[in-house]
Structure formats: structure tokens, C-alpha cells
């Protein structure tokens, strides 16, 4: 389980014993004593995130309450040659927040204020530690919401959403986090505070805002974010379509998109996960179906009515065994509760699970699903599938019992094969979870050495000394540090 982290650790110099005491004293002077922690409990707690990657090694844990404090932490860490790892709610699934070799961990949970809501212009400034759902709750009376809605939205933070370019069921129609971020206040690794992007439609210069979103904490630390607010749709309809086979559900998804409809959500769940969820929360799902398709259309009522009619037609055309349109908000919420509770339901079946995340072209969904079932069977693992079908974003769940000898090797091997078949189908490594430490080794499946070299050039433009969340995203051999030492930047060429 810890192989990836251990391999990366070898590349980073461990802190010299005795130095940490002085580092902590300076951090406590910059913040307060109670907001810089170095006890075993804190360091253990923050040594992992929601991924299967354990074995992290946290240094001092700081809880800043302002941008100035984050800048001070960065400067102190730099003086001590120590790397920094930002952290939101720790809900990341690829090990992006797993600290290595005692970096200074900057937990942004106390920077959780909604600073300004400009309902007229549909813009809000929030601190990075604001919880995603808290913002939407605050906006509800204004008829607005923050569109990205990852499954962890009850606890995940806006800063974390920015770091991972988070998605969610409704990003099919509304777009992922990057489409809703207008500007970001960032503390760069050297301590400079900059604002990337702007509230105007076409900010001047390079789109550094866009480059920063999804960079997993490797370009600096977001402290404040200006987000675009989306008006709540006047009408929403949720449909539940049942099919004998997942392939029928996948074909229906392709037909819906080809017909010119862009639903707010298109979610597929296979029979195994449907049964687990139904036993868990009684969402009203048909447990005899081979797969179910949860579809939501929203907008103006006449448009919604047309779309619902068309989706029912396409569902029937592809052999739907039953179609239900939620009649009221209670029924609609129950249907969504099932989808959102899917991961929790798995705990009834197995104590551990590994949630994967790849994307394939919609037209390849059915084929790749078949391959995933085969892969799991060969590795004697239980796999369940629920996924954002509208954008081809697969989430196979490998459920297992970690106490079983040798099971982790099989889980990792199966995971690697799932990535391989997704790439071979013309897909990508990740749709919304990011790379972290989980998928570094797979980056070369998708990118050439030249491609990766250019990604590194971006990385070192923000962080020339490679101290922001090092050892993440880029594969070994293409690490920020490896490249930085080889390339001298000519002076006076430009700007």
C-alpha cells in the first residue's frame, strides 16, 4: 500500500534532526502557539487523506486564519528549506494531500469565511476553507448556487475543489470547478501573494488562473477564491430508468447526447451497487435491474418537458424495463440520496474499497465496462460500478478486505489494468480525482516525455525551488527537481 509513497520519499532529503524545533518556534511566533501543532495525534491524523495511501509523514501542522499568515508560513518554510503541503478537508482520493518527509502542513480549515456575495453580478469571494455545500446553502435564499457538487460536498472545501478541479454529477451541463473560478488569491512558494485571473471576462496576460486550477497544491496555496454563481433552475425533473444490462444504459446515454440534449446529470449504477444502496437507504431503486440510469434535466419548464419526453422515448428505444419520473421534491431527493450514499453502502459488503476514476469516450462505455468486470474477475475481486455516464467518467469500486493476505497486490494490479483499458479506449487517467501519488506512474501512458517536460516547465515557473507539495502529479524521472536543475533560464529574453 505504501510503495508509491516510499518510492517518492527516496527522492526528498529528510529534515535534519533538531532543525524542527527552531522551525516550530518561528511558526508559533508568526501564528500562535495553539495553531501550530506537532503532537503525535495531529501528525498521525494528517499523515493520510481519504485515499488508500497511508505512510505519510507530517511535519508541523499550521492552522492559519489569514493570507498574511499563510505567506509567513511559506517564508519561514523556505528559510528552513522545508516543503509545504496544503490541506482542505482531506477528502482527496489520490494521495494528493499525503505529506512526505515532514513538510509543513498548511491546513486551511480555519479560513472558512464567505467574504462577499455579489448577487447582482453573480460573484462570491470565499476563503479557501469554506465548505462547498455551506456556500450553496448560504446562496439558497438568493436563488443561486455554486455548481460543482462532488460527492463529498458536505465536507470538502472550495480550496480543495480548486486544487483538484473537482466535478460532480452536475458538471455535465454546468462544467467542472475551473469553469466557475474567476480569480484566485494565491500565496506562491516564496511567500509572494498574487491574484490570478480577474472578475472581468478576459483578464490580461496568460491564464495563470486556469493553469493553477487542478494543480493539486504544486503551484502555490489558494487562500481566497472568486467563484461564479449559477442561478437555480426554475424547473428540475429527475428520471429513473431501469435496464436489463449496463450496455443498454450506456447506449441510452449516447443517444440522449446525440439527440441534442445536455442533461444536468446522467448517472449509471450497476446492479451490485444498486442493491447495496437500496439495502442501505431505501431510495426506491429497482433491485432486479441490471443497471439504472438516473437522469436530471433542468431549466425552463417547456425545455424540460421536451427533454423528458425525448429521454423517455430513447429509454424505451434502448429496452428500458421501467421508467419513473420523480413526482415531487421528496421523491427527487430520495433518488439522489441513493446515488450520493453509494460509497457508504459499500461498507455493508466489504470493510475496504478502492474507488477508481478514469474517463472514456461515451461510445466506449459499454465495452470498457465489460473489460472492467473481466479484470475484477481475473483478480478475484468484487467490483461495483457507478459513474457519471454523461461525460464518460467511470468510477469502478474494488471492494475488499485489507486483512486478507495478498489482496492489496491484486487491488493495485486490477487498478493498473483498469487504467490501461481506459487509455486504450481513447480515454484519460482521471476525470475529477486528479493524479496525486496514485496515478503518477501512469502519466507516461497518456503523455510523451516531451509532453511531460512541458508540464514541468509550467510547474517550475510557479515554484522554481520545487517546494510546493513535491513528489505529486509528475512521474518519477520527470520530477520538478530533476528538470529544474538541468534548465538554466536565460536572462533578458522576454519581459
Amino acid at each position: 500500500m505504501n510503495r508509491a509513497v516510499d518510492a517518492l520519499r527516496k527522492r526528498w532529503k529528510r529534515p535534519v534532526p533538531g532543525e524542527t524545533g527552531q522551525l516550530i518556534r518561528e511558526l508559533r511566533t508568526a501564528l500562535t502557539k495553539d495553531r501550530v501543532k506537532y503532537d503525535a495525534a495531529q501528525r498521525t491524523l494528517l499523515s493520510h487523506d481519504a485515499s488508500i495511501y497511508a505512510g505519510g509523514d507530517a511535519g508541523p501542522v499550521c492552522y492559519p486564519t489569514s493570507t498574511n499568515e499563510v505567506a509567513s508560513i511559506m517564508q519561514i518554510a523556505e528559510r528552513h528549506g522545508r516543503s509545504v503541503v496544503p490541506r482542505g478537508a482531506g477528502t482527496g482520493l489520490t494521495g494528493g494531500a499525503v505529506p512526505m518527509d515532514e513538510p509543513v502542513v498548511i491546513a486551511l480549515n480555519k479560513m472558512n469565511r464567505i467574504l462577499e456575495i455579489d448577487a447582482e453580478n453573480r460573484i462570491a469571494w470565499v476563503e479557501a476553507g469554506v465548505v462547498n455545500l455551506d456556500l450553496t446553502k448560504e446562496l439558497r435564499p438568493l436563488g443561486l448556487h455554486f455548481a460543482p457538487d462532488p460527492s463529498s460536498q458536505q465536507v470538502c472545501t472550495i480550496g480543495g475543489n480548486v486544487a483538484n478541479n473537482a466535478g460532480g454529477p452536475h458538471c455535465l451541463a454546468y462544467g467542472v470547478t475551473g469553469a466557475h473560478v474567476l480569480a484566485i488569491e494565491v500565496v506562491l512558494p516564496g511567500g509572494d501573494v498574487v491574484t490570478l485571473g480577474g472578475l472581468e471576462p478576459e483578464p490580461p496576460g496568460y491564464d495563470l488562473r486556469g493553469a493553477f486550477v487542478g494543480s493539486e497544491g504544486t503551484l502555490g496555496i489558494a487562500t481566497r477564491v472568486a467563484v461564479a454563481l449559477t442561478p437555480n433552475p426554475p424547473e428540475t425533473k429527475t428520471l429513473l430508468l431501469a435496464f436489463a444490462e449496463p450496455a443498454n444504459a450506456a447506449a441510452t446515454v449516447s443517444s440522449i447526447i446525440a439527440s441534442g440534449i445536455v442533461p444536468a446529470a446522467l448517472e449509471v449504477m450497476d446492479q451490485r451497487i444498486t442493491v447495496a444502496v437500496e439495502n442501505f437507504v431505501n431510495a426506491g431503486y429497482p433491485t432486479d435491474a441490471g443497471a439504472i440510469l438516473l437522469t436530471e434535466v433542468d431549466g425552463l419548464q417547456p425545455n424540460v418537458d421536451v427533454d423528458v419526453e425525448q429521454i423517455i422515448h430513447l429509454g424505451n428505444k434502448h429496452g428500458s424495463t421501467s421508467i419513473r419520473v420523480a413526482e415531487d421534491e421528496t421523491e427527487r431527493k430520495a433518488l439522489w440520496k441513493g446515488r450520493k450514499a453509494a460509497l457508504g453502502a459499500i461498507a455493508q459488503i466489504m470493510p475496504d474499497y478502492y474507488l477508481h476514476d478514469t474517463v472514456v469516450p461515451r461510445s466506449k462505455l459499454a465495452t470498457v465496462l465489460e473489460q472492467i468486470y473481466d479484470i475484477a474477475e481475473r483478480h478475484e475481486l468484487l467490483v461495483m460500478n457507478f459513474f457519471h455516464a454523461g461525460d464518460g467518467n467511470l468510477h469502478p469500486v474494488l471492494a475488499f478486505d485489507a486483512r486478507e493476505p495478498g489482496v492489496m497486490e491484486r487491488v493495485h494490479a486490477a487498478g493498473a489494468e483498469i487504467v490501461q483499458v481506459s487509455i486504450e479506449a481513447g480515454g484519460v487517467l482521471s476525470g475529477e480525482h486528479g493524479i496525486g501519488v496514485e496515478k503518477q506512474k501512469f502519466m507516461k501512458l497518456l503523455f510523451t516525455d516531451d509532453d511531460l517536460d512541458h508540464q514541468n516547465r509550467l510547474r517550475i515557473s510557479f515554484d522554481p525551488s520545487c517546494r510546493a507539495n513535491p513528489g505529486k502529479v509528475m512521474p518519477i524521472g520527470h520530477s520538478c527537481a530533476d528538470i529544474a536543475s538541468l534548465r538554466a533560464i536565460p536572462k533578458g529574453v522576454w519581459g
Binding site: 490580461p204 496568460y206 493553469a211 487542478g214 441534442g260 425552463l300 419548464q301 425545455n303 512541458h454 522576454w494
Partner: protein, 307 residues
């Protein structure tokens, strides 16, 4: 599905022509040729690969050579009832991407920067580099396509792109009124595709099913007299990009202007004063340029953000 298999061959030839030394600039249709400063004299120019490489409507994506005219692309997509966020102003796909200006109907089309899924470009060293991915959703590695939008070709020579497409609504209707508060429109109706205001007249674009367009038209008629419009405003010469709230103070834009309400784009008689970029941001941008173009050979003379 449309597939022109020669795009890879074209890109190889494009890379060979670019080589790895001497200044180079890529020429589109020169509709925004002066943006970002004048090209240094005697710089060799090339055109980018062209043609639609692959288009599958059910994937809502299209792969297209950057030398293709946006109008040609849109003509092809329209056959399948789709379009993109790129503005259609006589220019090429690559030109639209590196200029980075949004469509006049941004509210309905979405931002251009969000529609670019994958970019292949030829680097300053002559390498063919690919970034992004072919799917509508992707967080695999650093997001270089965002950097290429609005870069004026100063980070790489764009060869082809994969763009997200969107369905063309079945009905669309422009309405005009000379008796309405333009800032009240977004409070009255749900997600209009465009609101333009010239200080006297307000134009509103409604898109959707026929019944939805009719109902939104009725809602607008309840607050002011609106008529269907066949004539669109003439856009003054200079493009501004401002905070949407600044549109309430239009005197700065000159004697004539057309403002995109809810967005912040303005076409004004006056030129927009130079917008400052923070020193810290400039430092990152400078390192970025130097890392991507160590010898300064890409589109020399042009600087994004310079008017």
C-alpha cells in the same frame, strides 16, 4: 463520424517547417493581427494545419486543425445541430484560441477558455507537444490548454485542438427595446443567451424550444415593450473587458458603445487604458515565457495583455 487521417501528417510537416531556430509566427486570417503589439520585422510566417480531423456528434467534441476557418468548422458542425464557443469573425480556429476573446453571446455559448479540451502545438524546440485530453472531462496532469488560450502563440505554435461542442437550440430570437433597464433583464428571465446595450436600445437573445422562447418573450413584455429585432448594433472599434458592474458607468467607453450586460465585454469608441498586471504575476509570466521559449523565437514582439 468525420475523419481526415492526414492531420498527423500535416502536423509533422508543420513541425519540420517550424524547425528549432529563428523567429517564427503563425498566421491565421489576420483579423486580430495587431493584438499584443507588432510582430518584429522579417519574421518568417507559416499557416497551421487545417481541416476537421475527427468529429463524432455523440461525443460532443471535434478535433480540428488550427488553420481551419471558424466559419467552415461551424458549417460542418451545424449539419449535426452543434456549434462551439468560438466567435465567428472571419478568422481561424487557432487564431480564435490564441486571441482568447469570447463569443458575443458568451452567456449562451460559454467561455472560450472552457471549451478547449486538448491542444497539440509545436514547441520552440520543434517538438510536437500534446496537452489536455480528448474527453469532455479530464484532470490528468497540468492544464496547459488553459495557458494556450489567449497566449497569442508566444508559448507554442498551435497545430490542432479538440473543442467541446454544444447543441444549437431549436429556436432563437433577438428582441429589442428602447424602454427597459438592461440590468433588470437577468432578474426577469432565466439565462438569456446575450444582453447587449448601447445606452438607448437593449437587445436580448432568447434560445431554447419554441414554447420556452415564447414564454420568456412574454415575461420581458411584462416589464417593457420588446420587438423582434432583425438588425444588430454596429460594434465600435475598441474591445474592453471590465468588471460587469462597471457597465453601469458607460461614459468611459466613449461616445458610442455596446456593452454585454452580465459579462463585462464592451465595444467602445475609446480604447481601453492599459490594464496593469501585478508584479508578482508578471514574474511568473516571465518565467513561463522563458521556460517555454528560451530563445524568444515564438511570435516575437507580441505580449499577451499588451494592447
Amino acid at each position: 463520424m468525420i475523419r481526415h487521417t492526414d492531420i498527423d501528417v500535416q502536423i509533422q510537416e508543420f513541425a519540420a517547417a517550424i524547425g528549432d531556430r529563428e523567429p517564427i509566427a503563425i498566421e491565421g486570417n489576420r483579423t486580430r493581427w495587431s493584438l499584443g503589439g507588432d510582430l518584429q520585422p522579417d519574421v518568417r510566417t507559416l499557416t497551421a494545419p487545417s481541416g476537421i480531423a475527427e468529429y463524432t456528434p455523440a461525443e460532443m467534441t471535434v478535433q480540428v486543425g488550427c488553420g481551419t476557418l471558424v466559419s467552415e468548422l461551424h458549417d460542418e458542425l451545424a449539419k449535426a445541430g452543434q456549434r462551439t464557443a468560438l466567435p465567428e469573425r472571419g478568422g481561424t480556429v487557432g487564431g480564435a484560441v490564441v486571441v482568447g476573446q469570447n463569443h458575443m453571446c458568451l452567456l449562451g455559448r460559454g467561455r472560450l477558455r472552457d471549451s478547449v479540451l486538448n491542444v497539440r502545438y509545436v514547441s520552440a524546440e520543434g517538438q510536437i507537444v500534446s496537452c489536455g485530453g480528448p474527453t469532455v472531462k479530464n484532470v490528468s496532469g497540468f492544464d496547459l490548454p488553459r495557458l494556450m488560450v489567449g497566449s497569442l502563440g508566444t508559448l507554442g505554435n498551435l497545430a490542432d485542438v479538440i473543442l467541446r461542442t454544444n447543441p444549437i437550440p431549436t429556436h432563437s430570437r433577438w428582441l429589442v427595446s428602447d424602454d427597459v433597464d438592461p440590468f433588470a433583464i437577468q432578474k426577469t428571465i432565466y439565462r438569456p443567451s446575450s444582453i447587449l446595450w448601447d445606452g438607448t436600445f437593449t437587445w436580448v437573445l432568447l434560445e431554447g424550444s419554441e414554447q420556452a422562447v415564447n414564454e420568456e418573450h412574454d415575461k420581458l413584455s411584462a416589464i417593457a415593450a420588446f420587438e423582434p429585432s432583425t438588425e444588430m448594433p454596429v460594434l465600435p472599434e475598441h474591445r474592453w473587458s471590465v468588471h460587469p458592474n462597471d457597465l453601469r458607468f458607460p461614459g468611459q467607453f466613449g461616445e458610442s458603445f455596446v456593452a454585454s450586460i452580465g459579462v463585462g465585454t464592451v465595444w467602445g469608441a475609446n480604447a481601453q487604458p492599459k490594464r496593469n498586471i501585478e508584479p508578482g504575476v508578471e514574474r511568473v509570466a516571465s518565467r513561463l515565457k522563458n521556460n517555454f521559449d528560451p530563445t524568444g523565437r515564438l511570435n516575437p514582439g507580441r505580449v499577451p495583455g499588451r494592447i
